[in-house]
C-alpha cells in the first residue's frame, strides 16, 4: 500500500513545511541505512526509540517485554532494510513492525501461561512463568485511579486490531490516516474499529460488576 502520511511524528503537530522536511529527512535516512551507514542506524534508533517502545508498552503493559520488542524491531530494520521497497513511509514500517511483534509476544506469553496452568494442574512447578508485578514502571503507580486501571485492563482484552487502533489513536495520538497505513486498511475501517473498541470499553466500564 502506498502511503504518504501527512504526519509522521505522533507527538507533535508540525506545520506542513516541517512535515515535508521530516519526510524527506526520513527518506535520506533510509537511503543511508540501505548503504549500511552505522551513523544512520544510530540516528534512526535515537529518533524512533521512544515511540516504538511506547507503542509496544501500550500493547503489552510490561517494561521488560516492551524493551524486548523495541530491540527486535530495530534489529529487524537493520537486517532487512535492503529488502524494504519503500511502499510505506519509514515511520509506518516501524509502527507496523512494533505492533505485529508486540502482538506476537502477547500470543506467545498467553500460550506460555496456558502451558504453565496445565502443567501446574499436573503438579509441576512453574514459578518462572507466573506474572510478576512491574512496580518500577509509572503505570504501576496508578493508586487512586481505579477507573483508569479498569480502562487499561479492558483495553488489553480488546480484539487485536481494535486494540492496536485504539492504542495508536488514544495513546500515541496518530491520525486516522496514519493508523490506516499501519494496519494496511482504509480510514473507514479504522473508524469502524475505533467505534467498536469505544463501545466495548464503555459497556464494560458501565457494567455494575467493575472488577478486573
Amino acid at each position: 500500500m502506498a502511503c504518504s502520511l501527512p504526519l509522521p511524528f505522533a507527538f507533535e503537530s508540525p506545520a506542513p513545511g516541517v512535515t515535508t522536511s521530516v519526510a524527506s529527512a526520513d527518506d535520506e535516512l533510509l537511503a543511508q541505512l540501505r548503504q549500511g551507514s552505522e551513523a544512520a542506524f544510530r540516528t534512526l534508533v535515537t529518533r524512533y526509540q521512544d515511540r516504538i517502545y511506547r507503542t509496544a508498552f501500550s500493547l503489552l503493559r510490561s517494561a521488560e517485554e516492551a524493551e524486548d520488542v523495541a530491540q527486535e524491531v530495530f534489529v529487524e530494520v537493520y537486517q532487512t532494510v535492503g529488502r524494504f521497497r519503500g511502499a510505506a513511509t519509514l515511520s509506518t514500517w516501524l509502527y507496523r513492525l512494533a505492533t505485529s511483534r508486540a502482538l506476537q509476544h502477547r500470543r506467545r506469553s498467553t500460550a506460555k501461561k496456558r502451558f504453565a496452568y496445565f502443567t501446574s494442574l499436573l503438579g509441576f512447578d512453574n514459578q518462572l512463568l507466573h506474572d510478576l508485578p512491574d512496580h518500577a514502571h509509572p503505570h504501576a503507580l496508578l493508586e487512586g485511579q481505579q477507573g483508569l486501571r479498569l480502562l487499561l485492563a479492558h483495553i488489553g482484552r480488546l480484539p487485536s486490531q481494535q486494540q492496536v487502533a485504539f492504542t495508536l489513536r488514544h495513546e500515541q495520538e496518530l491520525s486516522y490516516e496514519e493508523i490506516a497505513a499501519v494496519l494496511d486498511t482504509s480510514t473507514a475501517a479504522v473508524e469502524s474499529l475505533l467505534f467498536r473498541a469505544r463501545q466495548t470499553l464503555r459497556r464494560h466500564l458501565q457494567s455494575p460488576a467493575r472488577h478486573v
Partner: protein, 98 residues
C-alpha cells in the same frame, strides 16, 4: 469547593478517562538503549537468504509432522493403493500348454 462526582457511564466520565490516559507519564526505554540494540545485533547476525532456508520449517513441528505423513503416504509401498488387476499377457497368467 470540590467538583461533583461524574455520573458513572456518562460522556463526561468517558472523556475524563481518555484524558487521564493521555496524561499518563510516557513510558521510556532505560538509558543506553542503542548499546543494547547493538549488542543484540552482534549476538544475532543476519543469516543470508540461502537455498537451505527451508530448514527454518524444522522449527515448526506441525510442518515436520505433516511432511512426514506426506512422505509416508507417497512412499510407494502400495498399502494404500488398490491391488493391480492381473496382466493377461504376463507369463504367470498364461494357461499352461498340455
Amino acid at each position: 469547593m470540590s467538583k461533583p462526582p461524574l455520573r458513572p457511564g456518562s460522556d463526561e466520565e468517558w472523556e475524563a478517562l481518555l484524558h487521564q490516559l493521555r496524561q499518563l507519564p510516557p513510558a521510556q526505554p532505560r538509558p543506553f538503549f542503542y548499546a543494547r540494540v547493538r549488542a543484540r545485533l552482534a549476538a544475532h547476525p543476519a543469516r543470508p537468504a540461502a537455498w537451505y532456508g527451508w530448514l527454518d520449517s524444522v522449527r515448526r513441528p506441525a510442518y515436520v509432522a505433516l511432511l512426514g505423513l506426506l512422505g509416508l503416504a507417497m512412499s510407494g509401498d502400495g498399502v494404500v493403493l488398490p491391488p493391480a488387476a492381473p496382466h493377461p499377457a504376463s507369463p504367470a497368467n498364461r494357461p499352461l500348454a498340455h
